[in-house]
Symmetry: C2
Subunit: 467 residues, 2 copies
């Protein structure tokens, strides 16, 4: 039989069939069908069943399988499923779960269900969970699992393999083993390949190379992403005051990386991070997280009305100026959005650091000038072309209007570019999140200054003619 290749449409094919089995009470058949699936497919199928059928299907599955599947369901599905489970089943599911998954599950549950769950945990499992939950939210301590294999430096390879045979069955990984001293202090890590490639009589101490890279349990979880990327290790040990307290694995770190990126992107799009999948967040939350920033930007943008009021007389004399206003200020916003997006992302991937600000400033100065000249030329051509073609009605001073528009474009694009590139550095220097400089924020900022630049240049160029 060929290896299974992933199949997304599987749940769509299987769900109606399974719905029929469940409706007709064919539980043996349900069980056999579900047991054949791999965990991701099982989760897809369960997710697409209605709540009551999902609970029914879960009742025939072994607790370990339920525990491995549950974190792949959506938060509300998870909650309703756990509520429906009888105490004995809930107890076995929770006790069989990997400690890291369980911590993640429990920290999101409503208080009542959390309390019920905690009382159902075996004392040893409860201790582990309470230990993890004692670390701050979004810390490495919340992500780690205690299912690792610790070994001693004075053991031989043969002794170690024997130990793994006895105690490694439940471990999250035995690919990497952790060498600790009598007090549980982390000394080093050993890859299992080293054991396989060494003589049985060699000591663990002789295999140690002091190159373990570890995380602290109190570290922010973003540190885990950074360290794992840097050192290319699929598993990292976690210490607290030097003592080995857990491990975290690449899959959890990949999830964290994706979540952190989503947060950044949402901020860059001009809103608060949702912290939940788009489809599961409530409408009122969605409104709140967007409304706050939209109002802030709106109030900031009101300054354009204040600024424009100063130029009301000019607009009355030369309405032609107003015609090009959206074009000019949006170009500043667009060039600022490009620059801020580039710099914020380069900071997130650590290509650009705080100390690089001057190098970036010089590049963006040059690039902004080039971009400004490009748009200025297009603008100049456009206005003259329309006049030549007889489509425009830009007054008899149209060449001066074109000049004012062109020069304003150079100024506004340059200004937008520099602001977009430098504001993230300013925020970082103030130890704030650079991603708060969203494209809409830059656009708003540049709108206000852009129209002032435009009208000022227009005043200078058109004084004595139109103005």
């Amino acid at each position: 039989m060929a290896p299974i290749t992933p199949h997304h449409a599987l749940s769509e094919l299987l769900t109606p069939e399974l719905g029929a089995m469940l409706a007709e009470g064919r539980m043996d058949e349900t069980k056999a069908t579900l047991l054949e699936l791999m965990i991701p497919e099982l989760a897809d199928v369960l997710a697409s069943l209605p709540d009551e059928q999902r609970s029914l299907a879960v009742s025939v599955l072994p607790p370990r399988r339920v525990g491995r599947t549950i974190m792949r369901l959506e938060a509300d599905q998870r909650e309703s499923l756990l509520k429906d489970l009888p105490n004995d089943k809930l107890a076995s599911v929770l006790n069989e779960m990997n400690p890291d998954d369980r911590t993640e599950l429990l920290e999101e549950l409503p208080d009542e269900l959390l309390e019920r769950s905690m009382t159902l945990l075996r004392p040893d499992e409860r201790r582990v969970t309470e230990f993890n939950l004692a670390y701050p939210e979004e810390s490495v301590g919340r992500l780690m699992t205690s299912d690792f294999v610790a070994i001693r430096p004075d053991w031989t390879v043969a002794q170690t393999i024997e130990h793994i045979r006895k105690h490694g069955r439940d471990a999250e990984t035995i690919d990497t083993l952790y060498v600790v001293d009598d007090e549980g202090m982390l000394l080093d890590d050993i890859r299992i390949r080293q054991l396989i490639l060494s003589a049985p009589t060699q000591s663990i101490a002789s295999l140690m190379d002091q190159t373990a890279v570890s995380l602290k349990a109190g570290d922010d979880r973003e540190e885990a992403v950074r360290v794992m990327n840097r050192y290319d290790r699929p598993v990292l040990p976690v210490t607290d005051a030097g003592r080995l307290v857990g491990i975290i694995t690449f899959d959890d770190v990949a999830d964290v990386a994706a979540e952190e990126t989503t947060e950044d992107i949402q901020k860059m799009g001009g809103m608060e991070a949702l912290d939940e999948p788009y489809m599961s967040v409530s409408l009122i939350q969605l409104f709140r997280k967007r409304g706050i920033w939209l109002s802030v930007l709106f109030i900031g943008e009101m300054l354009t009305a204040t600024a424009m009021a100063y130029f009301q007389v000019e607009i009355e004399h030369a309405a032609v100026l107003a015609i090009f206003l959206p074009l000019i200020i949006s170009s500043g916003g667009n060039s600022g959005s490009q620059a801020s997006t580039l710099i914020i992302r380069a900071m997130a991937t650590r290509e650009v650091r705080l100390g690089d600000w001057f190098k970036v400033f010089r590049r963006e100065l040059a690039c902004g000038l080039l971009l400004g000249v490009l748009l200025g030329l297009i603008g100049l051509l456009r206005i003259h072309a329309w006049e030549w073609l007889g489509w425009g009605n830009y007054t008899s001073y149209y060449h001066l209007v074109a000049l004012a528009v062109s020069i304003s474009l150079i100024g506004v694009v340059l200004w937008g570019t520099i602001m977009g590139a430098m504001l993230p550095f300013l925020l970082r220097a103030m130890r704030l999140d650079p991603a708060t400089i969203s494209a809409p924020f830059i656009a708003t900022f540049v709108d206000v200054s852009g129209l002032t630049i435009y009208f000022t240049i227009a005043l200078v160029i058109l004084r004595g003619t139109l103005l």
Copy 2:
């Protein structure tokens, strides 16, 4: 000795010291210092040396270490380093590199250096590299390494361990072993833990569970990201027509995920993806990739000038209308940016699929209406407040102006939200990249339609008074 924890400032401390050693020709000391470093730190130190010193430092390092470090340098540093290496050193570095790193290195080199490098490869290594390079750019085939351990179903556990001892030393991983038949067809994968936990006499066939998840060499590399996230495996086998041809590991996949996200973010910021780190891309490339989209947006935004020209008479009669124009159109752009950012990211993480468009439409309709009413109310209050405070000069029909602004805000925000949310679906349905719907694109789109909405509503409300 405590395990090493990562230290970023290390290169800053070490670089001047190392510079002095190199300048004074103390090569033994240089070598000893560099050999003590872990690969990421070694790369940092080398990256911060000037070109000639870097080449000198590399000349004392073992080829295998150079090969493991080189991909962490910037592209131009890599190139100049390779050019400086004498043929025998270059040959040993290239032959000692992991095949996946080598493919990545070679595919970016200029033709001349590429040819020189290929002739220096040993026949077996050259065959592997040519094999990988035969797959399309950005395919899984380009990412894979051939250093895996293949085993047979009829072997015993003891035989397998013996085989690993003999052939596993150069493998990229022996945590997972691949079971193939006589023709090299992939049958299954076995974790090394299964070997350790099993009796030596057991056969490999008895350990097989047919749950291998594999990639095809011709697949897009984004597929690797998706499959690895879904199945939580640190290594995936790669097949071509069912035959096992390589493996790809979590660290390469994490790099791909980060690159693909960077591309998405750059597109969302309104430019072409740079495809290179911000600091290494040339100014002319930077200008080109931003200038193209900026010009396209500028030309699109010219429609605002065309649209405004239609309302020139109204602006001359009621310059007060122009005052609120930037405020109104930017609010549409901002709400559109929020919606498009949310949906594009949710599509990238597969929380939202094409089939969800109607669910999203309903949510965004409700959310857009709420947001529009929120801004409409703030706008209404602002205009009345300014008049009461004596700061505004919004004519004696200011309450009608306020009404026109408010209703326009509701319309424009709703319109921006719906467009921002729906255009990514449209692109996806057309099999284009939804990330092309950048915040600036939406802003431009909404500017043109927004000002038409505004002036039309103003015409209706103010006809017979101001207009």
